[in-house]
């Protein structure tokens, strides 16, 4: 049966390739830092289950040490602007078609593999389909675009460099959520909240969850960081546990309420402060100010959507 182990194997091989290419990348002044970072991530994907919990923890600390000490750099891009412009003219909309292969295969595979539980682990049908889609698009792209064999991995390495250590931030925040859960952070925040939320009021709980997601995101600068705390505090015990809300609706729209918070905070620097600098605006908060009138009504809509859709 094809499942997560095969997907992790593929991801491990990809990270290993990024690491090896980084090690050989003379254009990157910090190439050994990049090689070590992607190499450790490859090790985690390939052998994480055999390392044991403590060794995995040490692996995380090593990753963080490399990133925290500024050990990651960026290599140069290959290929010229003229080449890309010529490619855009020559290949036209075929480029979009190839890009669409991944989401299409992921979508079709998710439904098809559900019917074939003996072939693909139904719990992870989407991730398996995503991996298949990536492989299929890669194969088609190599043939259609007449690419050299090393091109995709080299370009993947370039994009990976530009993402940098932020690549593992979502996984790290998910792990932090697990430690918070062990320590009972959600319960404490939930207790504080339940002092504010009138007992048994579904409406108050929905509003507290939506507002809490947005406010917490504004403070943390990131909805990913707010989600585990607010969902453990209000989403799981009250909306899902006490009021039997649909967990998919509560989680998905709760996250989007958090995104409304992202629009309203200078803490989300890469979205709100970086563009102000890029566009040479005198007011550093001009982008935030342009977004608040969209974010506030949309936050209200999200809260209403949870109210109407989660308790059908």
């Amino acid at each position: 049966m094809i499942g997560l182990p095969q997907v992790y194997l593929l991801a491990g091989l990809a990270f290993a390739a990024f690491g090896l290419l980084s090690a050989r990348d003379a254009s990157n002044p910090k190439r050994w830092g990049n090689a070590a970072f992607w190499g450790l991530l490859a090790l985690s994907m390939l052998a994480g289950d055999r390392l044991g919990d403590f060794a995995n923890g040490l692996l995380v600390l090593a990753l963080v040490a490399i990133a925290g000490l500024g050990g990651l750099g960026r290599g140069a891009a290959h290929g010229s602007a003229e080449e890309r412009a010529a490619g855009a003219v020559r290949h036209g909309n075929r480029l979009f078609l190839l890009a669409l292969v991944i989401p299409l295969v992921a979508l079709i595979g998710t439904f098809t593999f559900k019917a074939l539980p003996q072939l693909v682990d139904p719990k992870n049908a989407t991730l398996v389909s995503l991996a298949l889609g990536a492989l299929l698009a890669l194969g088609l792209g190599m043939v259609w675009l007449g690419a050299r064999p090393a091109e995709p991995l080299q370009e993947g390495r370039r994009l990976m460099d530009s993402v940098g250590w932020a690549a593992i931030l979502p996984q790290m925040l998910a792990s932090l959520g697990a430690v918070f859960a062990l320590a009972g952070v959600g319960q404490v925040v939930g207790d504080l909240m339940s002092a504010v939320i009138p007992d048994g009021s579904r409406l108050a709980a929905v509003i507290a969850y939506g507002l809490g997601m947005a406010l917490f995101t504004m403070v943390m600068g990131n909805a990913f960081a707010a989600f585990p705390v607010m969902t453990a505090a209000i989403g799981l015990p009250l909306l899902i546990g006490q009021h039997h809300g649909d967990p998919a609706v509560v989680a998905a729209i709760g996250m989007l309420a958090g995104f409304c918070g992202t629009l309203m905070t200078p803490m989300a620097a890469n979205f709100n402060v970086v563009p102000a600098a890029l566009l040479e605006l005198r007011d550093r908060n001009a982008v935030v100010k342009a977004q608040v009138p969209t974010a506030l009504p949309l936050l209200a809509v999200n809260i209403a959507l949870i109210w109407f859709l989660a308790f059908r």
Binding site: A14, L95, A106, Q171, M172, G177, A248, L279
Partner: protein, 216 residues
Amino acid sequence: MNYWVLSGIAVMIGGFVLRLNALVVVVAAALVTGLAAGMDLTAIVSAFGKAFNDTRYVSVVWIVLPVIGLLERHGLQERARALIEGLKGATLPRLLTGYLLLRQITAALGLTSIAGHAQTVRPLLAPMAEAAAVPESGEEAERIKALAAATDNVGLFFGEDIFIAIGSILLMKGFLEQNGIVLEPLQLSVWAIPTAIAAFAIHAARIWLFGRGRRA
């Protein structure tokens, strides 16, 4: 009730305010929270290591990078630019609304990095918006450029969660699974659609009002 376990949240806030490396802040928050809960250092490192290993699928999304990189090398971004330039000659509201729709649709298909502040807003959208609007003052030009950047953010945020393999969807899946609720990414991502429609309606209305306010 042990309120000290909240100290990890204070660490998160402090770390982000001081602009420290986010990974370092996350680990520091985990350590402080674990110690406050009475765990020893080995137990905290093990707990974090186990959680990291259990949530590896969150980082599986990066396997699409070689394909995206290959397409970019052969002109994907340039082709996307040509598509936006096809909108040229339109009024400011039409230009920004068209961009918003395009950004939402492409993000919903997982193509989050074909556009962005560096890739499309600065080189294309902002100058085209200014050209379409002909601002009467420097102040107005600033507002138009800021609105262009805001339009990119709104399109990205409220399009990307419809795609099943985006980080936030996998984070939700991972979190819920650790709490005993097993969901497929698709079950989560379909619920991003109503908000995506509302985001388009609200932001497009604002763009239209902005355009009308200028003409009056």
